[in-house]
């Protein structure tokens, strides 16, 4: 949907009137820019909704089959943002009761203290593009290209996949893996799944079952042999394949989880390889 500036200006004008409650005929450049971004954000949201076929009522979908004006696009897009906020809040409420932070303060604060502030202050009308809060807990997907409710929604999706992934393992095992990976795991501002993923990967490399928690010298030798006999690329391919199988076997959303974690597998393998090179495998597992 490409609209000319001339078509968008009246929408910004209407928003400006609303913003000033008809008490001011002019606004600052900065505010005008913000209102224009708000209009563009809603129109973009409509494009995304149309592409993903979500948040659109039957009448909206019917409307979109014809060429619509910028004003109509803004209005339908605005309702899409409203629906997305509701969906995001529902997702938050769905995760919250069962959320386990595994003693990590950053995850706990990001989820319990910071996220509610977003829902409290989010301004759909005048600044839907504004994310408002800083999400300190680093998820494994790059969500920096998203703003506003889109970023919060993506963040919550990542958290839901992480929680699903971690739920399979006993809590003490996760805390043990975290403490091995970083003794200051409670205060670290790092993703908590990577340590567990590293443990899972090491199990796959050593061909051990998950019930056998502790690694022996024999296991480390077999990992060492694997790295010295096979190229890194082949190991990566093989491990990715095994992890994919593992996810599809044990998880309801196995494909989504694999998609989410696949980006971290390379990094995890490199860390194992480095630990091996420096002979500190026993320190991290």
């Amino acid at each position: 949907m490409n609209y000319k500036m001339e078509e968008l200006l009246p929408i910004v004008g209407t928003l400006a009137d609303k913003y000033t409650s008809f008490e001011s005929t002019s606004i600052t450049y900065e505010k005008a820019q913000e209102l224009m971004e708000a209009v563009l954000y809603c129109i973009h949201e409509l494009e995304v909704a149309e592409y993903e076929a979500v948040f659109l009522s039957e009448s909206d979908a019917l409307l979109l089959s014809e060429k619509i004006t910028a004003k109509q696009a803004y209005e339908v897009g605005f309702s899409c943002v409203e629906k997305k906020v509701k969906t995001t809040l529902n997702l938050y409420n769905q995760i919250l009761p069962e959320l386990k932070n595994y003693e990590n303060i950053c995850l706990r604060d990001s989820f319990i203290k910071v996220l509610p502030e977003f829902f409290k202050w989010y301004d759909i009308t005048f600044a839907p593009q504004n994310t408002i809060i800083t999400l300190d807990y680093p998820v494994l997907k790059d969500i920096s290209c998203y703003t506003g409710v889109d970023r919060i929604y993506e963040f919550l999706l990542c958290i839901s996949w992480e929680q699903e992934f971690l739920k399979l393992f006993p809590e003490d095992y996760i805390i043990y893996s975290l403490s091995k990976s970083n003794p200051l795991y409670e205060e670290m501002i790092e993703n908590i799944c990577e340590a567990v993923l590293m443990s899972v990967t090491a199990h796959l490399l050593a061909d051990k079952t998950y019930l056998e928690r502790n690694f022996t010298e024999k296991d480390f030798c077999s990992i060492n042999n694997l790295f010295s006999s096979t190229s890194h690329q082949n190991i990566t391919c093989e491990i990715k394949h095994k992890i994919e199988q593992f996810f599809s076997q044990y998880y309801k959303h196995g494909n989504k989880l694999f998609e989410y974690f696949s980006g971290s597998i390379n990094g995890v393998l490199l860390r194992i390889k480095n630990a091996l090179k420096n002979q500190i495998l026993s320190d991290i597992f």
Partner: protein, 175 residues
């Protein structure tokens, strides 16, 4: 996004609307020619650009004209220039007061001071009255909301004005 659309917006002119104000201002002996109206609009655009502000719709010019048309200190000779300067002052103080004050409240305040304290002196209006009042607004003063901008300056005026008793006293001394 660049600011091209803001430039586009500023190019919108409302010449007809400005000329329409003549119908009401004529009874006060104030009439704008087409050329005057064009100059006012050009200067308005310049002021908006300088103060980094954007106007939607008709803008403030007709409001300024209607607010000041019955002034004792505006005649046909200084009409165009006064409107131009008032527009510049208006945008400057909208910014200075961080948009906390509405157009009407600011215009009422400006008109009242222009008539009763500045006696038509725009420099005094800008440099003293509005300067002092904007400091109060920035500091959190919101009393103008209930008074609509009328009768506000007395609270902040730093100059001792002539009142009846002071006048009598000075007169006695002179005699």
């Amino acid at each position: 996004m660049d600011n091209n659309w803001i430039v586009l917006l500023q190019q919108q002119t409302y010449l007809a609307e400005i000329m329409e104000t003549n119908q009401k201002t004529a009874r006060f002996g104030l009439v704008l020619s087409r050329q005057d109206a064009e100059i006012i609009l050009e200067e308005r655009n310049h002021a908006l650009q300088q103060q980094r502000r954007v106007e939607f719709g008709l803008g403030i010019t007709p409001k300024i004209i209607y607010e000041f048309m019955d002034s004792d200190f505006i005649d046909q000779n200084n009409y165009t220039n006064t409107i131009i300067q008032l527009t510049e002052i208006f945008y400057l103080y909208k910014n200075e007061m961080q948009d906390e004050i509405s157009d009407d409240e600011l215009l009422h305040f400006m008109k009242e001071q222009f008539e009763t304290r500045c006696f038509g002196d725009l420099e005094y209006l800008e440099g003293t009255c509005l300067n002092i009042f904007s400091q109060a607004v920035r500091a959190g003063y919101r009393g103008y909301q209930s008074s609509q901008g009328y009768g506000e300056y007395g609270r902040f005026d730093e100059v001792q004005r002539w009142d009846y008793e002071l006048y009598q006293e000075a007169l006695k001394e002179l005699l």
